[in-house]
Symmetry: C2
Subunit: 108 residues, 2 copies
DNA sequence: CTCTTTGCTACATTTAATGTAGCAACACGC
DNA sequence: GCGTGTTGCTACATTAAATGTAGCAAAGAG
């Protein structure tokens, strides 16, 4: 039984109230999703290179997340490997300040 | 066996390379974490109210996440219920643009 | 044809989340 | 005092997700 809202897009659980932020938070809140977007920030990576960057995460889950991110339009598979789309880079830019915040947070 | 890095703070898996962003992404990447921060944006909620806001997520996992967020210093329990700390509001502010992005994303 | 790398999948094991129930502590009236 | 309700939180069995290891088919290089 699906929780966390009803299905609004293929593979993306979203809010019943039509709040896209819920669908986005759900997608980003899945394990490795944020990390993948983060690791692709400087350019495309092959699936193997991405796996190495993600601390040897299991290929099963990476493949699952990559498929979700591709369906969401954030990631695409090019001849250089997996890379962020224009939309994906836009998304990444919205939480770029997170890096600076993390530095300050770690010093608390 | 813990993956996704070594333990740097209690309950927060982080990067071995001392990159706090990894610890933060790991924490934020756990189910319901982003959602909880989002639901607390307008003020404190009691545990029950938060549960309702989070679409009746199980109290077990909410409690787990709240404990993690409290240890991380983002959430505190006041007499009004659970609320964001100053640090938590700061964190929230860093991904506020996400809301506008989500709106545009849903119209793609 | 061999060797390597790519994207991707199978599958058994382990871990995390869910759903339901309920407890102890505290406040309200009465 | 006694009930009634709410709060924060926990137990525990069931279900879903992630992990770890292995390996396949396709494409390219030599």
């Amino acid at each position: 039984m699906p929780k966390q809202g009803l299905v609004t897009k293929p593979g993306v659980r979203g809010s019943r109230s039509g709040r896209p932020i819920m669908a986005l938070l759900d997608l980003l809140g899945r394990r490795w999703t944020l990390r993948i977007l983060w690791e692709l920030r400087d350019g495309a990576l092959t699936s193997r290179a991405l796996r190495t960057a993600c601390d040897e995460a299991s290929p099963t889950i990476l493949q699952t997340r990559l498929t979700e991110l591709r369906e969401a339009g954030f990631v695409e598979l090019t001849e250089d490997g997996y890379g962020l789309t224009a939309l994906g880079r836009e998304l990444f830019a919205t939480f770029t300040p997170l890096n600076r915040f993390a530095e300050r947070w770690s010093k608390r």
